[in-house]
């Protein structure tokens, strides 16, 4: 009876943790299989422990090249989407202008559209214009679909900003440029950073839109997709695991810094 009661009390916790397990299971498999030494071309069955892939992560032809291409595209897409998106977010929150509803839906629609639709229609545009598919078409596409997400992230932050802070700065004889650089931008920075981070992650991991608009250019997700047909090298798992660890460390470091700042303020 006590057991039943305990179970009832903690039902939500148990169900939640099971879901968390479901979410993390593939990452555990990816990590474990980065130490595999598979027989044959595919790394789906456990054979024996080996650190070979970790000591030679770039040992597969073309993989690290595709990785660096993906990082480059993600970096530029982040810059482009963050600049354009931040400008839109400021305009939306701070100003009155006509056709606001139309602007809002133009920003909302890319997020409410299956990727394959955007990918296919963008390809028809490029084909009609006779554009050479490759680095630039991928970059254009990535900025396009990351833009809306940056707007949403920055908008949330700017909306919660107290406009009186800027008025105060201007009352204290700060010029418009100074007010923006010394007051507005620092306050909006967390929102902009969140938007930029999101854009980077979205661009780096994008497959569907890239698949349509890359031509014969191979980004890292495209490489993984191709290897699912040809044979999956263990090094893919090494990269996947390393990215996971780096990301978690990044977030933890950010949290520690954030906590320290909050404590200093208090």
């Amino acid at each position: 009876m006590a057991l039943v009661r305990w179970f009832k009390r903690h039902l939500v916790v148990i169900a939640g943790l099971l879901t968390l397990g479901y979410l993390l299971l593939p990452n555990i498999v990816v990590t474990v299989f980065s130490f595999n030494n598979p027989k044959g071309r595919f790394n789906y069955e456990w054979q024996e422990f080996s650190t070979e892939a970790w000591t030679d992560p770039c040992g597969v032809a073309d993989m690290c090249g595709s990785l660096s291409l993906s990082l480059r595209i993600a970096a530029w897409a982040t810059v482009g989407a963050t600049v354009l998106g931040t400008m839109i977010a400021f305009a939306l929150v701070r100003y009155r202008f006509r056709a606001r509803g139309a602007v809002n839906s133009l920003i909302f629609l890319p997020m409410a559209m299956p990727e394959v639709v955007m990918a296919a229609s963008l390809l028809t545009l490029f084909l009609n214009l006779g554009a050479q598919l490759g680095f630039w078409t991928i970059l254009i596409a990535h900025i396009m679909f990351c833009l809306s997400f940056v707007v949403t992230a920055v908008k949330a932050r700017v909306m919660s900003m107290d406009p009186r802070l800027e008025q105060a700065a201007q009352d204290l004889y700060a010029g418009p440029v100074q007010t923006f650089l010394r007051v507005t931008l620092p306050i909006a920075a967390p929102g902009i950073a969140a938007g930029a981070l999101l854009a980077f992650a979205l661009s780096f991991d994008d497959f569907i839109i890239t698949n349509f608009n890359a031509g014969s250019t191979v980004t890292f997700p495209m490489f993984v997709w191709g290897s699912a047909q040809r044979g999956t090298p263990v090094q893919i798992n090494v990269i996947g695991t390393a990215m996971f660890i780096v990301a978690v460390l990044f977030v933890l470091a950010g949290m520690v810094i954030g906590n320290r700042r909050n404590r200093q303020k208090a």
Binding site: V12, Y22, A120, L147, V151, F180, F244
Partner: protein, 309 residues
Amino acid sequence: MTTLTDAPPAAPESAPKERPPRRRGRLTPYWLLLPGLLWLVVFFALPMVYQASTSVQTGSLEEGYQVTWHFATYWDALTDYWPQFLRSIAYAGTATILCLLLGYPLAYLIAFRAGRWRNLILILVIAPFFTSFLIRTLAWKTILADGGPVVGALNSLHVLDVTSWLGVTAGDRVLATPLAVVCGLTYNFLPFMILPLYTSLERIDGRLHEASGDLYARPFTTFRRVTFPLSMPGVVSGTLLTFIPASGDYVNADLLGSTDTRMVGNVIQTQFLRILDYPTAAALSFILMAGILAIVTLYIRKSGTEDLV
């Protein structure tokens, strides 16, 4: 969709990002909006127009395509590929419901029961994003492998007998069946359900729970009458964020499924990139878009949440 008709004519360069938000500058908002919106108009809205035009063209790759208002392409696409359309809606719908059922307890746990573990669990929900989703989807091939521990356990519990009878698995295989595809879709889009749910749950004032308890509501009644209704905005945006990408996905159906689990995304992809039948592909993509927009509009009307952005 095309806007900016009432924006002043302006040279596209010299976008004044550094210019401070002056309340009196009447043109400033248009300057700020111009470059980004232009990007969206040219690379999002205009392609839709090109796609619509492509879908009513006829011709061949060698001789070129001409707009002939050949609407029969739509009819042919629907009659040829209605099973894939139905399958997409069924798989995406099932995955969305599973995401809600699986994601709600976790979001609830993070919002109300996690205490000092809250941030850690949140990180663990987001962290998988940083391993390429294709790599993680491939990991399901290992997890659901024939004769592996998961399949073995399901087999000995006779779960597979039931699912085979329902027609979502085949014999003692899980891979290359609808179950595997739905499992992959659910997994891939689960964080998109959890995060909005968490956001709206976290906003709920804890005192409402106490008040409900003080008024002799049992925990489940409190959930049904207080917590769940207040979390509706999260439920709505979560289901949309799951259903929309899932319905157009072709990665899971390709990697975890078979030719019998092809979704409409798979058809669009092969038509566009391998068969190079652009009109049919464009028509399919247009039908998918129209269907999604109709569903989303209806759904938002019905649930009464207008401000999702």
